[in-house]
Symmetry: C2
């Protein structure tokens, strides 16, 4: 019998995702698969739905995990709620805003964009005014833009959209599990996410939640979506009441997500969010002590995804390779117009602790120095000087 | 720290899928995730692509596993290769033929159906004649129809389709890994499958292979597919040369599939197919000895999915529940018009051995007898009388 042909390198995943998986999640990934219509599977599904409601901050009945990655979540949101010929407004200030707009275009919608520079949040009043003027059917925005580190609160734009009779889609791929998503409080109609970032599970499922008013809209929708695999009405018949066969769900990933949500429940979601906020603040103070600038303004920062700008004269790829060589620490570079200009540093899940942030800062500083950067002050010292006592 | 909340029942999965997973596959499911752009991940992907080519029987460069289940494979095939307004012929004689036709309809194609009773293979000459007459852009058929147990060879219809300039899509969800799929020999342009049947892995990935002529067609396609998540040209840029980020692939499932393909390679694919054929024949002789009829004609039977008809006066659901209670053996019932009329018995992967077939037959016979069936002869005896010595 062949030994395992899988022998992955051990890395500390401090990138935007996939991030570190809780060991208790890995343990359940190898438990025996049951049938996709087995009562035990639906027990697991119910646990997933309940846990996701807590993480999303919603009471939406329609809350589940779809059998695809976070991008399948985006596809599902757009394919179900954007009709050909309808008017869709998209806030575009990063890679994933661009992607939503592209998906809307593919559905045949009239896509209107409100563009901002990558790294700059949209002023809510401006978005609200624009929505009142444009009167769209759907508004889409990215709550936590992984490509820039910018968080968009969404409250005023949601209110304006609802006044205009429009649905709101929010990309919560990076925020879910690591910071408050507040679906109901914000007024988001359709929120989707992934499992491999704030939820500390392997990638492969796309959590989604849909408000009752959006479900009503969907039931009244006259055209059939071209999308069959992610058709939410068909998925309702599978995952909710009727349990009618639709597809063979990836049972092992559901085991993992259920276990990951149990780990979160044990810690308490509010405590978990707070742990991420403190880790973020410790990291920010350390890099600012070194004299690095962060791309996102202080009031717009995602807690679990930091985007320090690459200092002048430093080759970001070399810094990242150095970090891998020094301590098996994997961070990411920028995408699109930010390639070579920012680092993307994810501090989430099992890594959002004082010790791990300290180790990260130490390696980051060392790699920067080795690549020619002269720090204004010591990041390591900033961390040591008690900044982390609060973490 | 919470103990595992996942404690699945142990069942012998003799249904159509998910089926038993090789223990060596489970072991790698819990290994540490690496990034979706990590060189190690692409090493795993290359191994998957090579192994899938062997299982599919193809030299197609474009061969990969998509990040969704078998139904996502169907969605990908139809969304990429069926344009709005084009003419699509579908052979419909079971649940999955119906599903392909529905997906074609959703893409806005003119769908023309060649219907046969569920359980009856289409005569290849008739299909070929029909294709020559209709002159479609695409022909789709199900090679191994899981709902009926019928195998469709496809050779003559593929030849006719190519003469007419049409592409051929074949659903190989149930056949891949358990019996020869022969993509190149048959002339199939687009074949897709799943991981949880003949490949003995957990569900969650959709193997797909595309012929060079179909890839050329795709590159020349003028309309952009509405489908973004499963857009094959975008996936090429991710999984092949450019390795450009598209989505975050479910790394753990790729580990599992890579390991599952290594297990298959070790046994040898031809030997594996033969093991499935012999297990199938042993089961068929045993159920025929009992006096049960099989739905599919002898020359049209899928090796790894058997459909014995429910004998008159017997409640199939009760038989299945009895089998679960007696020996934790899980078999399935019929779908649609075959609900209550057939059992669906999958004998695949680790269960396609003499011992497991004997145990299955024993339990099946006992459950049938307890539910009032009077066998013509003993299935257990038929198995014992040396039918299995060849397995």
């Amino acid at each position: 019998m062949p030994a395992s042909v899988i022998n992955p390198p051990r890395r500390l995943l401090f990138g935007p995702g996939p991030t570190m998986v809780d060991p208790r999640v890995y343990e359940v990934m190898r438990l025996p698969v049951v049938g996709h219509l087995d009562p035990y599977f639906f027990e697991v599904v119910e646990g997933v739905r309940t846990g996701l409601r807590t993480a999303f901050g919603t009471r939406n009945e329609f809350t589940l995990a779809m059998s695809g990655t976070g991008s399948a979540g985006m596809q599902a949101a757009v394919a179900n709620f954007v009709e050909a010929g309808s008017k869709m407004l998209v806030l575009v200030n990063g890679f994933f805003g661009e992607r939503i707009a592209e998906m809307g275009r593919r559905q045949g919608a009239e896509v209107v964009r409100l563009e901002k520079a990558w790294g700059v949040a949209t002023v809510e009043e401006e978005a609200a005014e624009w929505i009142r003027r444009e009167r769209p059917s759907v508004v889409a925005y990215v709550q936590a833009e992984t490509s820039t580190g910018v968080f968009q609160s969404g409250e005023q734009l949601c209110a304006a959209a609802h006044e205009a009779g429009a649905l709101v889609i929010a990309d919560c791929v990076t925020s879910l599990g690591a910071m408050p998503v507040r679906v109901d409080e914000t007024g988001i109609d359709v929120a989707y996410s992934c499992t491999q970032k704030g939820l500390s599970c392997p990638p492969g499922l796309a959590p989604i939640t849909v408000s009752p008013r959006a479900m009503e809209w969907l039931k009244a929708r006259k055209s059939t979506p071209a999308e069959w695999y992610l058709d939410l009405q068909l998925l309702t018949n599978y995952f909710e009441g009727a349990r009618r066969y639709h597809h063979t769900a990836p049972v092992s990933l559901f085991y993992g997500l259920r276990q990951g949500l149990a780990v979160i429940e044990e810690e308490g979601i509010a405590r978990r969010w707070e742990r991420h906020r403190r880790s973020h603040e410790a990291f920010v103070r350390a890099v600012e002590a070194m004299g690095l600038r962060l791309l996102a303004a202080p009031e717009d920062r995602i807690w679990n995804l930091n985007t320090p700008c690459v200092p002048k004269g430093v080759d970001e790829l070399k810094v990242r390779k150095r970090m891998l060589a020094l301590a098996d620490i994997d961070i990411a570079g920028g995408l699109g117009p930010l390639a070579g200009k920012v680092f993307r540093v994810g501090i989430m899940g099992p890594l959002a602790t004082a010790d791990h942030v300290a180790a990260l800062v130490e390696t980051f500083e060392q790699a920067l120095v080795e690549e020619g950067f002269e720090p204004a002050g010591s990041g390591v010292q900033a961390v040591r000087e008690g900044l982390l006592t609060a973490v």
